[in-house]
Symmetry: C2
Subunit: 438 residues, 2 copies
């Protein structure tokens, strides 16, 4: 999936790499502001960052995909309406509160768009809103509007890094991926971390390009790229109410080759999806499952999802424990419940290239056991550190490598295949989500 395989020995080195890849495409500026506020529901001091992504000129060429969760956030409701508008000129994103099922949520989102539009000389319908954070709480709209001039004042071209840092919540590090082609570029950022099994869209992702691609083509291409990237990834099987992917083209550079554009966009999206998994809440191992020999691509993807969402297999990987019976369980669970007609007698499986199942039967021995443990240890992002006051926290805040636990499943029952990205289930995930209010 990933086109790259980096190693970083420190946060400074990772940050330097991000900065080297952060150049904004032509025609865009980003700005941010951060302020303290008091939530209405739980009166404990909190901080919010507001991020602006602005085009020098509003564009007709924009695309967006949203969560399929049936309780969408107010910004998702507003964003879906924006798809019918002739032009988009800016995006306003806040973290900390997601504005989902909150009283008056849609009005609040529209008010923020109108204030942003006024500050930038746009129509309110030319602004797309995004919010991420606690579900159910109300946005502090007055304070957000009061903070807008500061965000506008920081708008500048050059680097997307301030936006990549502004949109995060529990993420450990900002995520930026780029592709340069035909004298232009495609640059994407992502907010991820938890409540992540995208469905037709994902988390918050903003992809900017100066390559000129007309709106309808842009939307078709984005749908395909999302299907091959964010929709093949799961941190915890939970689908956020706020998932949003936006793709904006400033049109500053002619696009001579749509196929090359689509390939580059797909790579950017796949790399970001893997970044989101690698930076998932408490993730210590990224798991890549390739399912081959399936009757259809949808079946291959569903089996891959069943594996990366099986809590017992995820726990085994967390513990570097080659409990491969749990892998077989996860495949059989999906097939038995959803497609019982698929024969599994020719199924072969391997992990880290080590064969473990042949024609539906295990072939295990102590030597393989040791090799499987070594493969999982090599893919560990960090070793669990002793908990402080009972809370486990990741001891590093940068991705030290881009290796995965590699699982290959060949059903021997067709010609279709798919690759799915997931993660382990760790004490750090439980600490992040049970030991204190995120």
């Amino acid at each position: 999936m990933s086109s790259t395989s980096h190693l970083f020995s420190s946060r400074a080195e990772h940050r330097a790499w991000l900065a080297a890849n952060a150049a904004l495409p032509r025609g865009f500026r980003v700005g941010t502001t951060r302020f303290d506020f008091m939530p209405f529901e739980v009166p404990k001091p909190a901080k919010m960052t507001v991020t602006l992504i602005a085009l020098d000129q509003p564009t007709a060429d924009f695309a967006a995909m949203f969560t399929k969760n049936a309780f969408p956030g107010a910004p998702v409701i507003v964003g879906r309406n924006r798809l019918a508008q002739p032009r988009l000129g800016a995006i306003i994103v806040n973290n900390k509160i997601s504005n989902v099922c909150a009283p008056g949520g849609v009005d609040t989102s529209e008010r923020l768009c109108a204030a942003t539009a006024q500050a930038l000389g746009l129509a309110a319908t030319e602004v797309l809103p995004s919010s991420t954070g606690v579900i159910g709480w109300r946005l502090p709209a007055d304070q957000m509007i009061a903070a807008l001039p500061q965000a506008v004042a920081t708008l500048k071209p050059g680097s997307i890094l301030p936006a990549a840092e502004g949109i995060v919540t529990t993420d450990l590090y900002p995520k930026i991926r780029r592709a340069d082609l035909a004298g232009g570029s495609i640059v994407g950022i992502a907010k991820g971390a938890g409540m992540i099994e995208p469905n037709m869209a994902t988390m918050l992702v903003y992809v900017l390009t100066d390559l000129a691609v007309p709106r309808d083509t842009l939307r078709t291409i984005l749908a395909r790229a999302v299907d091959r990237s964010f929709n093949r990834m799961s941190i915890d099987s939970d689908t956020s109410t706020s998932d949003t992917v936006v793709l904006l083209s400033s049109g500053a550079v002619p696009c001579p080759d749509l196929a090359a554009f689509e390939a580059a966009l797909t790579t950017v999206c796949c790399d970001l999806a893997e970044d989101v998994a690698r930076n998932g809440e408490g993730v210590r191992h990224v798991i890549r499952v390739t399912v081959k020999g399936a009757p259809t691509e949808n079946t291959a993807r569903a089996i891959g999802k069943s594996v990366v969402n099986a809590p017992l297999f995820k726990c085994a990987v967390a513990g570097n424990d080659p409990n491969v019976g749990r892998l077989v369980q996860a495949v059989g669970k999906y097939v038995g419940a959803c497609e019982p007609g698929i024969p599994l007698g020719r199924t072969c499986m391997s992990m880290g290239g080590i064969p473990i199942v042949a024609n539906g039967e295990f072939a295990l021995d102590p030597t393989k056991e040791a090799a499987l443990i070594a493969h999982m240890k090599a893919a560990e992002l960090y070793a669990s550190a002793e908990p402080k006051d009972g809370v486990y926290s990741p001891p590093v805040d940068f991705p030290p490598h881009e290796r995965c636990v590699e699982v290959e499943i060949d059903l021997g029952a067709g010609a279709a295949s798919a690759t799915v990205i997931g993660a382990d289930l760790t004490h750090e995930y439980v600490s992040e989500n049970a030991d204190y209010r995120s």
Copy 2:
């Protein structure tokens, strides 16, 4: 769901309650034996218990349901074949190794049945095998057969407790439920703990009755009872490859009222299902979700399952954290992905009787927040104890109460309802499944 609400202050008190409810129906005997052995795959010393459940006379009146997992264990394959046999006389159960996808697994299971049959004066096809434990490993058949005479020597009527204790793996305590009616009884035992989201069957459950119910009726009634009990429960969304429910009737007592029999059997199954959840790996809170106002009972059940299987909601409950946004997410995830036509604008939700969502919008305040925390704390089975060498273990080995975190969801979109039982996601679950090989 549960017909009872017990409090126990010690393991001794719980054990006395179990003993008081353990009387076997007429016509049955149970026996066990325990021995040391060395697994082929990972040569580390291990212990296995073999449990026998025997009828005084083989019966034609037996029913069984099995996992839908498409990689069923060898005993499940053999057990399915037994359904066509005229009579059943005994069940042989072992723990530690589940005999799933192991080379020669079916032959090994048949060999064990033949040896058991010979020792009991039965035909091999009159013995049903069950195995639970590590997937993929081979059974130590020679040692099991050598241990059989000892198990046969311990066979006696009176108490089912030895069998309830013999079949467990990582369970904290044995599980027995009974109903007495019409001069006879229905007595069930269960092995549970992890890899549990039954599908058409469940874990290992053996229900014995002396009430005479003919085979076909028994099978129809068992299917309905399983559908209303074990198939509405999930510990971790994983479906074991060995799930088995068996119901045997010795026919020693006439059954004057089939409806009363079905009601009593359903209660025994529901109670056992709740016991299995309460004794699930690392479970600190049992969660009971009632979904009302649904278009169909299947939809109500699926939404309940989506809630009890949502990792983020499970973590929030583990932390006594009223993060009710995660509850809304779980409902919207299912509806958006599977039944997007269901309108959610009239949805109301409560937790512990405290209203939190009305007509699709949150109604939260600091007072409710405190009441929600109090409700969750009251339903906690035990407080997390400081980990030893990084491993969290439950500090109690008996169920101190039978309270649940009570969630009610009224979709306002129909007349159907269903109740689903689940559990939280804790450090103890991760320790059990990641910190050492189970």
